[in-house]
């Protein structure tokens, strides 16, 4: 009786040892494979030279009040609008309930004189018109997207048309009164 149960115990422990061995080896192999695969996936992430160009410094001294400049940042256009008092007040007077994407103008700027938005329509990605003097600015005196007719106001907020969200405000900071760092 005891002999049979001892043999059973021996077989069972051999099986356990085998299973443990297999489990350990397989988990280690799986972990190794995961670590080996990562560099290949990471190589598709932005490379060092792309990351280095992730920030851009802009000289603001040439942008006159009432005008707007377009610069390229991370491959996209950025509108830098030097706003007049009228434009700022217009933006602040708006009732938030009227907005598709309610946002206070105060929350969209660091310095109300300067509005910085990414110039890509939030509908399907066209570049809205309104940067140049003769451009159509839409019904709200900001920007107008010719592709599907979205209108943006002087705070870059969508007021009419199919665009779901306001023009994106990128991360930025003022290095000094005349220098802006985007990104």
């Amino acid at each position: 009786m005891i002999q049979i149960s001892n043999k059973r115990k021996k077989i069972k422990s051999a099986k356990d040892r085998r299973n443990f061995l297999k489990l350990t080896t397989m988990s280690m192999a799986a972990a190794g494979t995961a670590f080996a695969v990562w560099p290949f996936i990471d190589s598709m992430n932005p490379s060092a030279d792309v990351l280095a160009l992730g920030t851009k410094e802009v000289d603001l001294s040439n942008i006159k009040k009432g005008t707007s400049k377009t610069i390229k940042w991370r491959g996209k256009p950025v509108f830098i609008k030097h706003r007049t008092e009228v434009e700022i007040q217009d933006a602040r007077k708006v009732d938030l309930n009227q907005l598709k994407d309610p946002e206070k103008d105060e929350d969209r700027v660091v310095n109300p004189e300067w509005l910085i938005v990414v110039g890509v329509c939030t509908h399907l990605g066209c570049i809205p018109k309104g940067q140049m003097n003769g451009d159509v600015k839409g019904d709200f005196n900001g920007w107008f997207c010719p592709c599907h007719g979205s209108h943006y106001d002087s705070s870059g907020r969508v007021r009419k048309g199919p665009a779901p969200k306001n023009l994106e405000v990128p991360k930025y900071s003022f290095i000094n009164k005349n220098k802006l760092k985007i990104g």
Partner: protein, 403 residues
């Protein structure tokens, strides 16, 4: 035969596309000789290396630019800016050497154990075709960095085609897409280099189909007729192959992480200059034996034919080797000649890296002659006159169970 699958989803798919039963038959149940030694690991090693080359090559192709003005710089961009770019690049460049290392041993195994003999002649042919495609792919790939060796190696080898009588020059102009190796050449070499590995995958598929028709050869070379002489591929050879992978990856890693450039040529870190020829134009080590054969013969066309002949002769090997006995284990005389052949192949490789002058030239000529003598004279004669050892009836009847 029609063993059912328990899992419902698999059974559903299996009924419509019998992929699972095919995989199970090929990778799990497949009866494999129980006495295979480590020389039999090199097939799966070649397979895993092919996969590694395709994956690393694919990732490199996302960053590489095939234009003469940008190619060299794009690779430096990969080395310096792309995340883990240096790792992927070195895996690919070292991997090419590893691929040939593994395949040469795989072929050597075939030569030693008579794996090319009836009924595996077509299996052998498919293998040679894979080898030729590898050579083409490696040659094309080496030009892509557009270093000095890339450019001049390509110039030398494409110029060989001028040896073809009457139409040679036209063919070379057609290959170049111009009057010398330049941007059109680089671009088409890139396309072809991208294509060929997938052709190799296709041929490898048929190589395995051919293998499975009669199953693997084994160290005794005898046909295995008893059921107990074979064991299922899984788990015995899956685990043995994984162990082989482990050893292989260790060697691979030593090169990739610590001595990645030792197998290459420093001149390829100099951007290509069509107006400056390097002092010594040498191909990568895996081409050296064939390069030696090429330069041993003083006449251009003959040299090219000899170089090609040294590989194409392998196609007729099953008929040149007339011995009824497959494995060197039972062919004591041929075994000696086998090792002399291997040694001679090394000599050819060594002399291929030297300038073809003086005593190096003499050695290369003797070695080249011997290479062909081995196939054309020694093998046929041995087949007829060699006194072979008696081959066992089955693998268990061998007194010493050698691996």
């Amino acid at each position: 035969m029609a063993k059912k699958f328990k899992n419902k989803t698999i059974a559903w798919l299996e009924y419509r596309l019998p992929i699972f039963s095919v995989l199970r038959e090929a990778l799990v149940d497949h009866p494999t000789p129980r006495n295979l030694n480590y020389w039999w690991n090199f097939g799966s090693l070649a397979g895993i290396t092919l996969i590694i080359m395709i994956v690393s090559g694919l990732m490199l192709s996302m960053h590489y630019v095939a234009h003469t003005d940008l190619a060299f710089d794009s690779i430096e961009h990969i080395m310096r800016d792309v995340n883990y770019g240096w790792l992927i690049r070195y895996i690919h460049s070292v991997g090419a050497s590893m691929f040939f290392f593994v395949v040469y041993i795989h072929i050597a195994r075939g030569l030693y154990y008579g794996s090319y003999k009836f009924p595996r002649e077509v299996l052998w042919w498919l293998g040679i075709i894979i080898f030729l495609l590898m050579i083409a792919s490696a040659f094309l790939g080496y030009t892509l960095p557009w270093g000095q060796m890339s450019f001049w190696g390509a110039t030398v080898i494409t110029n060989l085609f001028t040896a073809i009588p009457l139409i040679g020059d036209n063919i070379v102009t057609w290959l170049w897409g111009g009057y010398s190796i330049d941007n059109p050449t680089l671009n088409r070499f890139y396309s072809l280099h991208f294509l060929i590995p997938f052709l190799i995958v296709g041929i490898v598929f048929f190589h395995i189909v051919a293998l499975h028709k009669f199953g693997s050869n084994n160290p005794t070379g005898i046909d295995l007729n008893l059921k107990k002489e074979k064991i299922p591929f899984h788990p015995y050879y899956t685990i043995k192959d994984f162990f082989g992978f482990g050893i292989f990856f260790i060697i691979f890693s030593i090169f990739v992480f610590f001595i990645p450039n030792v197998l290459g040529h420093p001149d390829n870190y100099i951007p290509a200059d069509p107006l400056v020829t390097p002092a010594h134009i040498v191909p990568e080590w895996y081409f050296l034996p064939f390069y030696a054969v090429l330069r041993a013969i003083p006449f251009k066309l003959l040299g090219v034919l000899a170089m090609l002949g040294s590989i194409f002769i392998l196609f007729v090997l099953p008929w040149l080797d007339t011995s009824k006995v497959r494995s060197c284990r039972f062919r004591p005389i041929y075994k000696q000649f086998y090792w002399i052949f291997i040694f001679n192949f090394f000599v050819l490789g060594w002399v291929g890296s030297k300038v073809p002058e003086g005593h190096y030239l003499i050695i290369s000529r003797i070695s080249t002659a011997y290479y062909f003598i081995h196939f054309l004279i020694i093998l046929p004669i041995l087949g007829k006159f060699e006194k072979t050892l008696p081959t066992p009836i089955n693998i268990f009847k061998i007194s010493k169970y050698k691996k």
